[in-house]
Amino acid sequence: MAPHFRSFILRRLAAAAGLVFVVSSAAVVLARLTPGDHLSEFELSPAQIAAERHRLGLDRPLFAQYVDWLGRLARLDLGESTRYPGRSVAGLIGERVGNTLMLGIAALVLATLIGIPLGVITGRGRADPISVAARGGSVLLLALPPVVLSLGLLFVASRTGWFPVGGLPPDGDAATIVRYLAMPVLSLGLPVAATLERLQSRAMADALRHPSVRAARARGISGTRVIWRHALRLSLTPVLAVYGVITGTLMSGSFVVEYVMTWPGLGRLLYDGLIARDANIVAGCAATGAAFLAVGIFAADAALAAADPRVAEAR
């Protein structure tokens, strides 16, 4: 491993850890500063409220609560939920984290499998029917954010009966899960596929003008090989650089899709926690989400540095 690469990786790892720490701290503090807590909705006597707040440690100074939370986090204990009494936040997250991961990864794979090859084809700058259709489709899909697309697909699904209209049965076999996954994945993945297609297309067009590619052409290498071997490799750098950002996009989109299509994931849990003023759920979900985000950004950075060593040297 090149020394540049190693120090680059170490620095990015530190940044990832820092991100998780800062996000979860901000979430803990924000959730405790929020006016009202889960008790304000119940008709309890002031003494009862005080006793319950004391039991949960809510009457202690903010800083002490925060230190407490950090200490428990080190033991992977995220506290108990008030929204779902008697449940631990870690257990609630454990139930749903797989669903969100499945949705996000499937959408990312779908977007990559559609977006990158189409981008290579449109990036050649020819006006064949596939290119024209792909380009038009992308422009259209980019105007359909997940909130619009998920409602539209929900309509199609319920009209045609081809796919279930949301939710996920708890103990489904693989075939059932795929059927329930289809609509959410399309809602989340198609706009990302369009983004990737546009980026790949532009990167491809740039790569085809690169001296090394022109040199390869001049040596008599066939057009197909130049495009799929030489130019594609060159064009991957700017595209890989976006994958970190796309992790965030997928998480934003995932929240909407989970809500509209009642997909039992982390985004929906965070939302329930926010509405019910359940500080432990909010903090736990924020920490988990930040960890995913950090892993996504780190993986993208590492892949970028592996594909283009100059990236590691520059920083």
């Binding site: 259209l140 980019l142 209209v165």
Partner: protein
């Protein structure tokens, strides 16, 4: 101006005109409920009458024929559209039933009227928020780019931190940290602030880049050497260089914020009932999935998509004009 930009500009013009002109362009109040017209289908203007002759535009009013199945049928009458009457551009004599150009929602309200009035709320909150984000971004970015050093590092670290987070969660957490039940105008200003808080880092990053690059150029040095104050250099020489960048950022932020309003209101953290915004219409349609039987309830989703498309087309050629020095 390229063809796609012209298309984007015309779409945008259409959106702006229909939201500003809502009181004149809509046949009804967005809040008025028509009993017996719940989920009524659209009533398009017709030109060819039942006997095959061409007439001036008319409407075939519908009436409910089956309450259980919510079935509607034309009443057989042809009511001509009246122009410029009672302060409305178009309307009909409604003795034989109301004109609902895009149908009615589950509460019997006119979808067309709600769509146009909703555009006012949805577009204005996005516009306000994007202007606020520009303002914050210019101040922070200008300061960072001009001051350099530690101020620059600290401000940009903060901007990068917000930038890296998924935007909807920033907006969601900030909004949820406020009281959940607010009035329409409170929600308007809350959303403006919350969206601006999530949007300013992009602006600050861009402005900082331009300012710190321009600061070292000859003309800025020249202004400094003849004794211009730092404030004057920033205001008269450096910030004008960011105009192209700000315009292209505006075409990115407005559609993002329109979608954000739609999302937040859809999940119940935006405008309260019965206010008409695109998000609240989507929420009404989504709850109980009413739109499976009444696809016209998805009209605001179309309006959202149209807004995003318009701004994308408008900004489509911007990158080259933004970075002339590159």
């Amino acid at each position: 101006m390229t063809r796609s930009r012209a298309a984007g500009a015309s779409l945008l013009l259409l959106l702006v005109v229909s939201s500003i002109g809502a009181p004149v362009l809509t046949p009804h109040s967005p809040l008025r409920q028509f009993p017996d017209f719940e989920n009524a289908p659209p009533m398009w203007p017709h030109l060819i009458s039942a006997n095959g002759s061409v007439r001036r535009p008319f409407i075939r009013p519908l009436r409910m024929v089956d309450r259980l199945e919510r079935r509607f049928a034309p009443s057989g009458i042809e009511v001509p559209i009246l122009w410029f009457r009672d302060g409305a551009l178009w309307s009909i004599d409604e003795t034989d039933g109301p004109w609902l150009p895009l149908g009615a929602d589950p509460l019997g309200r006119d979808v067309f009227s709600r769509l146009l009035y909703g555009a006012r709320l949805s577009l204005s909150v996005a516009l306000m928020a994007s202007l606020a984000a520009l303002l914050i971004g210019i101040v922070v970015g200008g300061l960072a780019g001009f001051a350099g050093g530690r101020v620059d590092t600290a401000l940009m670290a903060l901007a990068d931190f917000i930038l890296v987070l998924p935007a909807i969660f920033v907006v969601l957490s900030l909004r949820a940290a406020m009281p959940l039940v607010l009035s329409v105008s409170q929600v308007f200003w809350t959303l403006t602030l919350v969206l601006a808080a999530s949007g300013w880092p992009v602006v600050a990053r861009g402005v900082r880049g331009v300012v710190s690059a321009e600061r070292r150029k000859e003309y800025a040095e020249a202004a400094k050497s003849v004794g211009a104050s730092p404030w004057r250099i920033l205001q008269r020489h450096l910030l004008p260089a960011t105009t192209g960048l700000l315009l292209s950022l505006e075409t990115m932020m407005v559609p993002a914020f329109v979608v954000a309003e739609g999302t937040l209101t859809l999940v119940g953290l935006g405008f309260p009932v019965p206010a008409a915004s695109w998000g609240s219409m989507l929420r009404d349609a989504w709850q109980g999935s009413a739109f499976t039987d009444a696809p016209w309830l998805l009209a605001p989703a179309g309006a959202l998509a149209l807004t995003v498309l318009a701004m994308q087309l408008l900004g489509s050629t911007a990158p080259q004009t933004v970075e002339p020095s590159k």
